[in-house]
Symmetry: C2
Subunit: 382 residues, 2 copies
Amino acid sequence: MNQSKLACGIMSGTSLDGIDVVIATISGTGLTTKIEMIAGKTFDYPPMLLEKVKLAVTDQLTVKDVSSLHFELGRLYASCVISLCKELKLSPSSLNFIASHGQTVYHQSKIEDTRLPSTLQLGSGSVIAGLTETTVVSDFRIADMIQGGQGAPLVPYVDYLLLSSSDKSRIAQNIGGISNITYLPKTKNEHDVYAFDTGPGNMMINYAMEKLYNKPYDDCGQIAKKGQLILPLYDEIMQHPFVHQMPPKSCGREQFGGAYTQTLMTKYKNHAPEDIIHTLTVATASTMISNIKQFILNKHEIDELIISGGGVHNQFLMNFIQKSLPDIKVLSSDDVGLSSDYKEALAFIVLGNQTLFQQTANLPSATGAKKHVVLGTVSYFT
Amino acid sequence: MNQSKLACGIMSGTSLDGIDVVIATISGTGLTTKIEMIAGKTFDYPPMLLEKVKLAVTDQLTVKDVSSLHFELGRLYASCVISLCKELKLSPSSLNFIASHGQTVYHQSKIEDTRLPSTLQLGSGSVIAGLTETTVVSDFRIADMIQGGQGAPLVPYVDYLLLSSSDKSRIAQNIGGISNITYLPKTKNEHDVYAFDTGPGNMMINYAMEKLYNKPYDDCGQIAKKGQLILPLYDEIMQHPFVHQMPPKSCGREQFGGAYTQTLMTKYKNHAPEDIIHTLTVATASTMISNIKQFILNKHEIDELIISGGGVHNQFLMNFIQKSLPDIKVLSSDDVGLSSDYKEALAFIVLGNQTLFQQTANLPSATGAKKHVVLGTVSYFT
């Protein structure tokens, strides 16, 4: 169990801004887990495939195309792994395992019309296994959902394993398309850990950047920095019911995606583009701060806020958060030895490692599940 | 490896005529595999769910419904397992594992328009695992397809393990919706084994029975027995290119489903219903005989033909086959100790057992794959 293994993690988030692939060594399990990153790379979705994925997430594909896309994405993920291995002069089959999140094309933890709660990640683990000649763990969200959980968030368990400190109480925050936070008490008692989504991460900002500037994101927050606050727009976002909903809670494109952002942008279309970006950034940061204050600082003292994900590169956003929480030290996860860019991909290596040892890896306090369960399915290649 | 395990197999075929669930003990792996059936039961699809499945197989469901159906079928399969266990006064969690084929809603081993070859079985293994609290093996077809195989047929490998005899050269035939045969030489050399689909099994007969008699099948072949041959209809079916295509080959609803059968029925609608059923039955049997003669008896001597699947109960069909092959002893698999009704569900237990031992279980000579690979994905429950 303590033998070091070579593993690969693949994460492609709901923001569709690329496929993060990371290679690392991992040893131990649970709280003894040690992971060290060797290399990481972000691959773009090929345009044709991106179009298909967009059709999938907007419920515009039927069975045959879903089936094909499951294989096409599996093939794409495998090619990304093979490409990164080639750069490192590694044979993919020398990896002990690959953990792949897959592309979520549907995730609903409540009954909707005639549909049961369900989640669907495309990019078949068996396809990846066959092409890389390596055992693959995938489909991490289902098991938790069957125990009554939301199937999300899953990274908080990894935050608990890797970022808990016995000296300091921490919050781990990931700012991807959406933002989620995990409370990590210095007691290191799993039962005291909890986690939830705070609302938008980069999702609204990136959507608006694409529409207003034809750019995928606001580099370093330069545009946000130039703009001024549109108070009614700010207020409208801050009044979104999700911001004030009690945890556990999770959100996604359904709440803060293109449809929502577009409605707001149309309503405030007479304002300067940089003011829109500024306000979306301030409001995004404020939903985070509001959640931290309402649902963590009301009960606990916090020493450090450790941020990962693309949001780390938005200097304006980072400064805003630090200014709003003067008593807390705001760090990027790089500062504590965990790549902020590849944290989620690394996290799935940790989760996949748990699966292969048949050890549980959900955090019921984060997902709402009734039980600890083993997550994921294993496609063996031997 | 030789310890006996309690396992459950779930098979729901393309004919949608029910869910076969079987409980058995299994020991060994590969050629040392021993399986003994304890109980089996066929469950009907609940009407609402059957409707959804029919929409799926006719490519009329979109992403959200596919995702939900994956969970709904998983829940249904789990409830079938739990129900059979209850009858046996067994706790489902006392099963060592469950092997579930899932419901195929798409299977295409060639490129079609912009789609890659792919296969999609719904009824999530992780859903079944969570509800039965038992480790589940599922998604058996993908790995073979990634090695260039057709992902089908998979049962021939099990035929090879369980029905090969060193005294007699045999053909194992399964007559489900479609019919497939496996050549099992008495050399017991895997490289000499080959298998392929011969064409329709019960698919055309059952479709016509439903339309003409409002019954799901021709009980014991009584209607076929009463009718007379419509020679042009017979000839038309026998001229279907699939009948004469060289193995390896596989077929399904695409070739011999409702669309094809309906066209023929419309063309011959002025004939008596029993003549239609008689002719479909004779033609179905003749496609089998023709394939056996063209692609097996041309090269090999055969002692026994061992038939399993629903076709065994069609006495008219069975008699026709025996009369057409006077030099071969035609048996049902029950005669050699393997339930003809539950053979496919039992076969998936054998395949799942291979998966759990990380042993390969495809037969490249049957599927066309370039390599032997481990099949399936494992959803652990511990």
